[in-house]
Structures are given as C-alpha cells and as structure tokens.
C-alpha cells in the first residue's frame, strides 16, 4: 500500500499565493510515501514545503520553474507500475491524448503524469493511463482563467492502483475515486 501524491502547476508566487488552506490541512507528513510533481512550483520555498510532507520528492521542470536543474522527464517504478513524469509544455498540442500517448510510448511507462493545462484529466488508451493532476493552487493558465484547485493521490498496491482525485469546488473539497488494474502479464519494456 504505497501512497503517491501527484500535483503541480502551483505557480507560487507569480499567479497564486499558496495552496488552499483546506488542502494544506489534509497534507500532513507521515502518510505519503512519494511525491511526484509535474513542475512550475516555481520557487524553492514550495520545494522545501513539499519536502516536509514527504522526503521522497520527484520533480520535473516546468517552463516557469526557477530551479533550472530539474530534469525534463523522469521515470520511476512503484509497486508493479512504471510511472512517467513530464511537465507537458513540451508536448504539442497541449493536452492532446495522442501526442501524450506518443510520449508515453517513448518513456515506456504504464502511467504518465503530466500537467501544464491546469485541468484535471484521466485518460486511458492502449498504452496505458495518462493523468493530469491539474493545478494545486488553482492558478490561471494561458488557456483557462477559471481553474479549480486539484491534486491526485494514488494508492498503489501491487498490480492495482486507486486514484483519489481531490478538487476544491465552491470552497468544498470533493473527492473522487478511479480504479484500474494492470494485467499481470506485463508486456512493457523492462
């Protein structure tokens, strides 16, 4: 039972001051094993804050990140799933499923987590699953001004993953659940 927090596009301090207080009250240290961040934090203070929630932090570079040392892509294995991480501004058209699927095949992962659109989505296609956690602060994007803060918590248990989607709609936290399984005969590249 591994809990993985996926979030990104916070744009602190340029477009948002901080995470919503309701989100902050839920994100307490000790519960989460990994954090994967799609990028655009943008400052070191947010990096440090995320580190206090969980010391195992994976982060990729968004176009507004002030730390230039983050990589463009990252892959990691949790349970039986391979996860891929990329900010998404590199993939054109932004948020297009087929182009993201191409990236997914390139990285060779089961779950691809990208951001940039500031919109939560979860798609599946033959190659795997693409998850976009949206913007955790609700910061505006270049294509959308009215953004609901959202993030994703994945519970990975061997071949099964349960994705909990946390959205702040009208001041209330709404939680949705998505489940999927990976068939045991894995044909993804070792």
């Amino acid at each position: 039972m591994v809990l993985v927090l996926a979030l990104g596009d916070l744009h602190v301090p340029h477009r948002a001051a901080d995470l919503p207080p309701k989100f902050k009250s839920m994100l307490v240290p000790g519960k989460i094993q990994h954090i994967i961040c799609t990028g655009n934090l943008c400052i070191k203070e947010i990096h440090d804050y995320l580190k206090t929630i969980c010391p195992d932090l994976h982060i990729v570079r968004g176009e507004f990140d002030e730390d230039a040392r983050y990589p463009e892509n990252k892959t990691l294995t949790i349970g039986q799933f391979k996860l891929g991480l990329c900010h998404g501004h590199q993939v054109i058209p932004w948020g297009d499923l087929d182009s993201l699927a191409m990236l997914q095949r390139q990285l060779g992962v089961d779950i691809l987590v990208t951001g940039h659109t500031h919109q939560f989505t979860a798609y599946k296609h033959e190659g795997g699953v693409v998850i976009n956690p949206g913007s955790a602060t609700g910061a505006y994007s270049s294509i959308n001004q009215d953004v609901n803060p959202s993030f994703v918590l994945m519970d990975i248990d061997g071949f099964r993953a349960v994705v909990y989607v946390y959205e702040l709609i009208d001041g209330e936290v709404k939680v949705d659940k998505i489940e999927f399984k990976k068939p045991p005969t894995s044909n993804s590249a070792p």
Binding site: M1, L3, S25, M26, L27, G30, K31, L97, D110, T121, A122, Y123, K124, H125, E126, G128, V129, L153, D155, D157, R160, V162, Y164, V165, Y166, V173, K174, V175, D176, K177, I178, E179, F180, K181, K182, P183
Partner: protein, 447 residues
Amino acid sequence: MAKKGIPEWLNSSLWSSSSPPPPIDDRLLRNPSVTPPIVERPPLSPSPSAITTAPAPPLPVRPPSKSEINDLQNGTGNDEAGIDTPAAASSVEDVSRKAQVVAELSKKVIDLKELRKIASQGLPDDAGTRSLVWKLLLGYLSPDRSLWSSELAKKRSQYKQFKEELLMNPSEVTRKMDKSKGGDSNDLKIESPGALSRSEITHEDHPLSLGTTSLWNNFFKDTEVLEQIDRDVMRTHPDMHFFSGDSAVAKANQDALKNVLTIFAKLNPGIRYVQGMNEILAPIYYIFKNDPDKGNAAFAESDAFFCFVELMSGFRDNFCQQLDNSVVGIRYTITRLSLLLKHHDEELWRHLEVTTKINPQFYAFRWITLLLTQEFNFVESLHIWDTLLSDPEGPQETLLRICCAMLILVRRRLLAGDFTSNLKLLQNYPPSNISHMLYVADKLRSK
C-alpha cells in the same frame, strides 16, 4: 491487633540476604508436610546430612515417574531433555511434586483447587507441564479434559478472525469491499481508449481524510501505536535468542508478539498499548511456544493472546493513566504495599518512608506493573509466576505479598543504608533464593 515489634520469626538469621542458603537445602526445608515451628529451625549446617539420607528411598520412585511423565505429556512421547538434571532434581521434594502435578493433570476432570495448591509450590521446569498448567490456571482451558479440543478450536479460529479483521490495511479493506459489491475496475490493456470512469465517494473514505470514522485516519492514528509496539518488542529480552537477534526464529517470535499486542490494543481502545505490556506477554508466549507438543506450539500465538487478555484483566487498571490516582489505580496499589509492610515490619517501614524518605513509587512501580519480570532473570520470574498465577487469593494480592517479602528479606541492608544506597539496592534487587522468598511471602498471608 497491632504489632509493635518485628515478629519472632523474622529475627532468624535465615532472612539475611547476604548469605542465601543453597538451593537444595531449601527445597527440603520447604517441604510442606514437615513444618517445624520456625523459630526453632536449626541452622543450615545439619541439613546436608539430611540430603544424604534422603536420596536412597526416592531412587526407585524416579524411573517410573519419569516414564509416567513421558507418557502423559500430551501423548507425543517427545523426550524432554531438561526434565531431570541430576543436581537440581535430586531432592525428594521435587520428584514428588512432579509426580503430583502429573497425576493431577492426567485426571479426566482436573480439580483446580488441588492444582493451585501444587502449583503454588512451583512447577517442574519442563515446558510442557508449565504450558498446560498456566492455561488451566488462567481459565483458558476448562478443567474438563473432554472439552479441550472443541474449546481450543473455537478460540483459535476466533483469533484468526481477529487477525484478518484488524491487521489489514485500508487498501486491502477497500479492495475487499469493492469486490463484494461486484465493482469493475478498469483494466488497462483491454478496454477502448477514452476517459476513465470516475466514481464519486463520500468524504470519509479517502486516504487524507481527517474524519474520526474514517478507516484511513484510524489506520494512520494506529500507526503511532504500532510503532511504539514495534520499538518495545525489539527491546524485549535482548539477551535471549528466542526474542532478539537476526535469526528467522527470533523474527517470527517478534512478529507474533507484535500481532498479539496490536490486536489487544485495537480491541481495547480504552487502554491501547502501554509500555510494559510486552514484558508481561513475553513469558506467556515463551512457555507456549516451547511446548514440546508441536500442535500446541503452532498455535502459541493464539493461546498466548487469550491468556494475556485474561492476565491483563486483573492488572489493566495499573496501566490506565486516568486511574492512576483512583482507588483501583497503581498509586493506591503501591500504598497498599506500603501498608502491608507497615503491618508486618514497622521498623523497616518507618526507616524506608520516614527516615530515608524513599517514596515506594521509586521501586515498587516497576515491580508491580511488570509483575516482577524485570527484577529477576527469566527462569526465576517463571517460578514467581507459577506462584502468582496459582494462588487462590489472586495475582494482585500475591504480588503485593511477594513484594513485601522482597523488602523484608533485605531489611538488614536497608536498615543500614541511606537514601542513595537503599534506592540503588531496591532498583537493582540482588539475586536471591526464589523459593525462599516465595515461602516468606506465603507466611505473610493475613490469617
């Protein structure tokens, strides 16, 4: 009637702990069928001669009793390696006691009163007997032998159920719930591309929930308790290979201890886990696991759980913080010990509490809450527990008497010492003759 001075029998030089009498002599002296008036007890030197005359008659008795024990030990015919080390068991006393225990245990319906009487003088050291007797004394097995198999099966399956319900993490619980609801989880490779189906859930049921009824929140809260249990189990008896070290056996035993303590903590939310419970569980589990009967040893964990619960039912108030200052709490129990000491040995009491101002809490707290497991080595504490569990007055009363006896036995050194030396002495109680001590404790019984 109030006694001003020390009772006569306390004046005997026997009670000075600086020269404990050799163990063999003591077993003879404690023979219950021969109770000379204590003040006239001869000094130790004549007793060796008593031993030399004694062994001749029992020798023919020993072989049959040995085979008797072998036959009756749960019928497995294992040879008990530790059964008769020649030195310790060469006394009449020991052999007859063993025979008595075995005879009692082999009856169809066991007379518990009789068993208690025999057990309070100490049980033979082979683990099979002790395991069986403790289970009887703690009420886990009923005196009627024919009910044993059905009762054991019932209890053991109940424990298995506890394990399944309480030791699962929320992930598995939700998976089980979904399976039973016939939920379909999206299969990655098979279905057609498109958006994944979302299902709305109530606020209680997600991992970051802070709700009090949330499975997840309670799981994370329990994690603190689990960590505490884990730390304590790792520290239990570090000198014994059974409990600590890197071997697979030690790990399995540690896991068993952890499981029992976790389930106890979850079933008793009022008291949860308190440091020290591991020390009380350790001897019980050790005895049951070392049962020569493999069938019993395999279920040592479940048996130990129920016996631990039974033992704790008498002592749980000691662990409850809210009850500390109440009539049933630990403070009151310590006060009772103090009063008991005052009743039997006012001079010592006055010296300890008034002159040197040693608050009995400094030493008695550990004695009482941990049932003396930390004051003596493992084998000795097993002997003490034989008496504790078998005494008809109940373990709490017996414990107080034994503590009082412990104090009285070192009275010479205590009376001569000041605060520091006395406290040091009481917190590191010197090794002493246990049967001796238990005998004194017995004498302290209020008539």
